[in-house]
């Protein structure tokens, strides 16, 4: 029982990182019907931005402080928001009116570009994230130990997810985003600046990926230029599982992915760690292709 609770606790912390990345996939897909394969690499850039800004600030040395951690988080999110906007402007906007396949291949191209630029600029050998917050073990109940880092990860992700939900449902911009997602041309006719809304969507999605990158650096301090590939794919599966286009769906999908990964490694075999993501993907596509919270959309012929 202790073992199960421990696996669940770790799985939730790990899953909230997937959830944050999945949110970016889901938002972009909801609005552009584009699977932004470069998203996992934006997460990598976020982790590296945080790494370099933390070192530039001299944080994580003798005296780790949460204020620095927050500053580093904000810098990484801002940098990646800018990166997301640039990617959209230079790579996706020119092909927006082309077929969806063109956009998809462009996305794969951007992804490979970021990965290899990462190797070129940051180097292929892993870097180790400085300790931004002094580590401490917290015993939840007998035999269930988590770190303050894991708790930070869960709390920060929850805060960002709640913030995003409020933004999308309560603000004018959020309303405009939903309108563009519902019908882009009709929204445009209603006077909604579609281009600006899409830019904002990319900025928010990329900032969330950057936050995931910083949080992963906090708990799992090894970062390297190809670190975004697997989490990117898994977060995509999480988004599909939850119902791509749905914000609560992405959160549920991410947490499910994290927990199922832990349970598979703990009770079956570690060799299935990555396989479980794809088993879930296949099952979802076979049983409920719209995902857990996805709506059925009639295809217009």
């Amino acid at each position: 029982m202790q073992e199960l609770l421990q696996q669940l606790a770790n799985g939730i912390a790990w899953g909230s990182i997937y959830a944050l990345i999945a949110l970016g996939y889901t938002m972009v897909y909801g609005i552009l019907r584009l699977i932004n394969f470069a998203h996992g690499d934006v997460y990598m850039v976020g982790a590296f931005t945080a790494y370099f800004s933390a070192r530039a600030l001299g944080a994580g040395g003798v005296d780790p402080s949460p204020a620095y951690a927050l500053l580093v988080l904000v810098i990484a999110m801002a940098a990646c928001a800018a990166l997301g906007v640039l990617i959209e402007f230079f790579a996706y906007r020119p092909v927006r009116r082309s077929s969806r396949l063109t956009a998809l291949i462009t996305a794969i191209g951007v992804s490979l570009l970021l990965e290899n630029l990462g190797i070129r600029i940051f180097g292929a050998d892993p870097k180790f994230f400085p300790q931004l917050i002094a580590p401490r073990n917290i015993t939840l109940t007998e035999g269930v130990v988590v770190t303050n880092h894991q708790i930070t990860v869960v709390l920060v992700s929850m805060a960002l997810m709640v913030g995003l939900t409020l933004f999308v449902t309560r603000t004018r911009t959020g309303k405009a985003m939903r309108a563009v997602a519902f019908h882009r041309d009709a929204a445009s006719l209603m006077g909604i600046p579609v281009n600006r809304i899409i830019t904002i969507t990319f900025a928010i999605g990329s900032a969330l990926a950057a936050a995931a990158g910083v949080l992963v650096g906090l708990t799992n301090p090894k970062i390297e230029p190809l670190m975004g590939i697997m989490p990117g794919v898994k977060a995509f599966v999480a988004a599909v599982l939850g119902g791509i286009g749905s914000i609560p769906g992405a959160v549920i999908g991410g947490l499910t992915m994290g927990v199922s990964e832990y349970l598979v490694v703990g009770y079956v075999s570690s060799t299935f760690r990555d396989a479980i993501a794809f088993i879930i993907l296949i099952l979802v596509l076979l049983i409920k292709p719209t995902g857990l919270l996805g709506r059925n959309v009639a295809e217009k012929v």
Binding site: Q6, N10, S270
Partner: protein
């Protein structure tokens, strides 16, 4: 207009190709012997390749400065395999086919040595691995050598150390399933440990490159082992140790020479205090040969040479020693090694192979090196302990 531009570009590229080929062809000067080296200068095990490269460089530069092999210098061409087996095979093919090297030095990781060794074996180019310990490496063929001990020995000494010296009866294993070295060492350790009367309470696995090990560690924790055997490479070992402490596991960890890296404790921080691992030598040994090596290495690279640097130095030494003997015994064959590919050079390389195989009592910094019939070296293992983020000598185990 655009089309004309690209046509011009293509023409320029094609015009350049012969020029490039010529410059490569001319690069080979007459009075030198060209040796290839492949290693992980970047990637997850970057310190393995860098340490080895520095060790080899230190030996070769010293030897060349002292007049080379009777006036002939040895030039080493280094290729980076990015810590990836498939790149290792490509790197070695390039060294053999394009650079025309007459011998190859490398790799540290057994998986990568095994990926590249067939190319050397097929081309008849002797390869000396400084520090691949999996027995299968030299089984690939009669041109593949190593200057370190092998994993059955390493696994056995770790098992004995845990059972007899530390008096621990319950072991857990956390192995890297993607890595031949780790799987082999884990098996040899388990076999020896059980034969000594110890119990393996859990045997879990991860894959090289993983970031998160808490699921496996949670399973291990429930079985209450007295120590955890982690036969992996330093990056993962450091992360595993940290995450184990985060789960409240206080049991010490034991490991093999995959831990040897100056980054190990930077990654693990305090998590490995109280743990032990096997190395190939001890840098504070009072032996004058070791101290001379350590002093020279420090002066040049501003770092303490680790076990892999010492083995790189010795691998270069064994090769040069064989070349020197070749020059004395058969100067014609020695000169053929400087020339182009051909029958004369093939015969000379076969002779070089025989001379490497007959290496006996070579005085290396990691001990006396004698190659046995299976082309392996029989050498002592050195146990190091970790205390307050410092290494300390525990014991040397003779074979």
């Amino acid at each position: 207009m655009k089309r004309i531009g690209s046509a011009v570009a293509i023409a320029v590229v094609f015009a350049l190709i012969p020029a490039l080929l010529l410059s490569v062809g001319c690069a080979k000067r007459a009075d030198e012997i060209v040796v290839g080296e492949y290693g992980s200068l970047t990637g997850t095990t970057a310190t393995f390749g860098i340490s080895t490269k520095n060790g080899i460089e230190l030996y070769m530069d010293g030897m060349n400065a002292a007049g080379g092999i009777g006036g002939t210098k040895v030039r080493v061409i280094v290729e980076d395999d990015q810590s990836r087996p498939e790149e290792a095979a490509t790197a070695v093919s390039k060294l053999i086919d394009q650079d025309g090297v007459i011998a190859v030095l490398g790799e540290v990781a057994s998986s990568r040595s095994m990926a590249a060794a067939p190319a050397c074996q097929n081309a008849g180019v002797p390869m000396i691995s400084p520090s691949s310990t999996n027995p299968k490496v030299t089984e690939i063929g009669d041109h593949i050598f190593r200057v370190c001990y092998i994993d059955p020995f390493q696994g056995m000494v770790i098992a004995k150390f845990a059972k007899s010296t530390l008096g621990l009866d319950r072991a857990a294993i956390l192995r890297d399933n993607k890595n031949d070295y780790s799987v082999g060492l884990a098996n040899y350790f388990a076999e020896a440990y059980k034969a000594l009367g110890g119990t393996i309470v859990a045997d879990e696995a991860y894959a090289e490159g993983d970031q998160d090990f808490k699921a496996q560690l949670t399973v291990l924790r429930a079985k209450k082992p007295q120590f955890i055997m982690v036969p992996g490479y330093y990056t993962e070992v450091g992360l595993i140790a940290r995450q184990a402490r985060e789960l409240g596991i206080t049991a010490p960890m034991l490991g093999g020479d995959g831990w040897v890296s100056d980054r190990l404790l930077e990654i693990a921080q305090d998590a490995l205090n109280g743990s032990y691992f096997v190395n190939h030598y001890w840098e504070k040994d009072t032996n004058p040969a070791i101290q001379k090596f350590v002093t020279e290495f420090r002066a040049r690279y501003k770092a303490t040479p680790d076990g892999l640097a010492a083995l790189g130095y010795d691998a270069a030494g064994v090769l040069v020693n064989a070349l020197k003997r070749l020059r004395e015994e058969d100067p014609k064959a020695f000169n053929a090694l400087k020339g182009p590919r051909g029958d004369a050079q093939t015969a000379a390389r076969a002779k070089l192979r025989d001379l490497i195989a007959s290496t006996k009592d070579f005085p290396g910094v990691t001990g006396r090196i004698t190659l046995d019939a299976a082309r392996n070296a029989v050498k002592p293992a050195v146990f190091l302990g970790i205390k307050n983020r410092q290494y300390e000598f525990v014991a040397a185990v003779e074979p």
